[in-house]
Symmetry: C2
Subunit: 300 residues, 2 copies
């Protein structure tokens, strides 16, 4: 069993929802569209935080009725972030969603020691792609949050993605730890980390996943490429999750998929007390909507 496409993700989210979504700095048309569509589909109970008047204006411009949405006044973005995060902290919301504000402002509130959402775990970003040329959804991490993760950090990043996968209630995912080659090479740190992470999964230091690495990208997603190289691996050709060796490779992979393929995207930050929907201004309304559905899956 696995998740084939965004339609299946949406169906799973519908059967789990609705969840209370705190949209921080809600004065943004595409975010309002996404959250109100999620409302109409039974995914979300919207809490719109920001400048009340401006939120109403933006909604009008987008032709959106805000029926069923709670609107909470905030005088600036920092206050909006603090309010949204505090609502989750106090059990009054299930998901934080980023609207029209800088990521750092939101994360500052998330990391606040008193009213924030710290769990002691590293935060990490997980992208979920529907790629026309692949046979199921592909999770990719970490494109954005951790600059130069070492082994222990990679372990947490991997575990965060695995935990997200398990919110779908399926079998253990297959995780490919990527490198430039499939052999362990002392001169290539990515291959050493990969070998260690695979063994950590064998020893249950990483839980609920079938992990193999080092694997090159082709071995991870093409069985034929793996067979051509004589690689025997339970993950090869059928990866659910790709753990990238560094932020550069993940970022380039992410943007290559976005700009050079007709892929659909959902993305979340994991590792906090609640999932954080951290889309960017450039994301389409549709991708924000998928991200929100993914947030519903990840919410308690």
């Amino acid at each position: 069993m696995n998740i084939k496409n965004m339609e299946e993700l949406l169906a799973a989210a519908k059967s789990k929802g609705p969840k209370r979504v705190a949209l921080v700095a809600a004065e943004d048309e595409a975010s309002l569209q996404a959250v109100m569509k999620a409302h109409s589909k039974g995914l979300a109970l919207p809490i719109l935080i920001g400048d009340k008047a401006l939120i109403r204006t933006k909604a009008e411009q987008a032709g959106l009725a805000l029926d069923g949405a709670e609107i909470v006044q905030a005088d600036d973005n920092a206050q909006a972030a603090a309010l949204g995060v505090k609502m989750v902290h106090e059990g009054k919301a299930d998901i934080v969603m980023k609207g029209l504000l800088h990521t750092d402002v939101l994360l500052k509130a998330v990391l606040d020691k008193e009213n924030g959402l710290r769990t002691g775990k590293l935060l990490s970003h997980v992208s979920v792609f529907e790629i026309p040329a692949y046979h199921k959804l592909l999770f990719i991490t970490d494109v954005a949050m951790n600059i130069a993760p070492g082994l222990e950090e990679k372990k947490v990043i991997l575990q965060n993605a695995v935990d997200l996968y398990h919110s779908f209630g399926l079998n253990d995912p297959k995780v490919a730890v990527l490198a430039a080659v499939e052999e362990v090479n002392e001169k290539m740190t990515a291959t050493l980390d990969a070998a260690c992470l695979a063994k950590m999964a064998d020893r249950k230091q990483i839980k609920g996943a079938i992990v193999d690495g080092p694997l090159a990208m082709d071995n991870a997603i093409s069985l034929q490429a793996a067979l051509d190289k004589g690689i025997k691996s339970p993950v090869a050709g059928d990866a659910d999750i790709l753990l990238c060796p560094n932020i550069e490779s993940c970022n380039i992979l992410f943007k290559t998929l976005l700009f050079f393929t007709e892929s659909k995207l959902a993305a979340l930050v994991m590792g906090a007390k609640a999932p954080i929907v951290l889309t960017t201004r450039a994301d389409s309304f549709q991708n924000k909507y998928y991200s929100l559905a993914l947030g519903v899956m990840a919410a308690c």
Copy 2:
């Protein structure tokens, strides 16, 4: 002016060819097909090096006549590599092409101090992609040869790609030095190297190229993405060459394009006295043919 697609590459190669191609370990159907097609199109004068009888058998199996090809006996792959490389060294061939042998065996001959093809420069790999969603050929380096290049090595890798681009006789190429972000960040070496390489081009330490970086992948290949971020750059959205920050990111980019898009590929090793066509067993006949055409462009 730029090179739009593989058809334009082939047309340019035809007007420059034919060049003498030493196919090392020629007992390989796809390589024989590529080199004999290149012969029929006026690109190549084939020199087939390997087990004469086996070469003839493979050609028969592929339905290929070997008219016009010189066949040179070699008793094993090491000898084939040494013979092919020596022919270039002595001015009897213009291009080395890898047939059915391990890359290290070929490179050992290339790097031989007496009869090899050293120039004192670093060898590096340049891939040239025709990507359906991009408006011209995109050069990508270095996917395979240099494990952890430092600044000086990146400079040579970049210059090798620029030199290859100039074999088409066009204006200076636009080079994007990739990182995960477009701002210089002391904690991210890729961004420091990128800033330095851009300045090295300003100071003519890198010649014949418009270089900018750090750029993220989206800024490099999408003008809209660059505008959204407020980036002013002569390269943004219109890169001819992408210099990747490390081998992992380049390898993942390369394989993502190969497996998840309908792209066409040509690839070469640059930096030796002659271009080396270093395709892999998994490459299609067609991609080997494009690589050979690219080799014709790079040959003296």
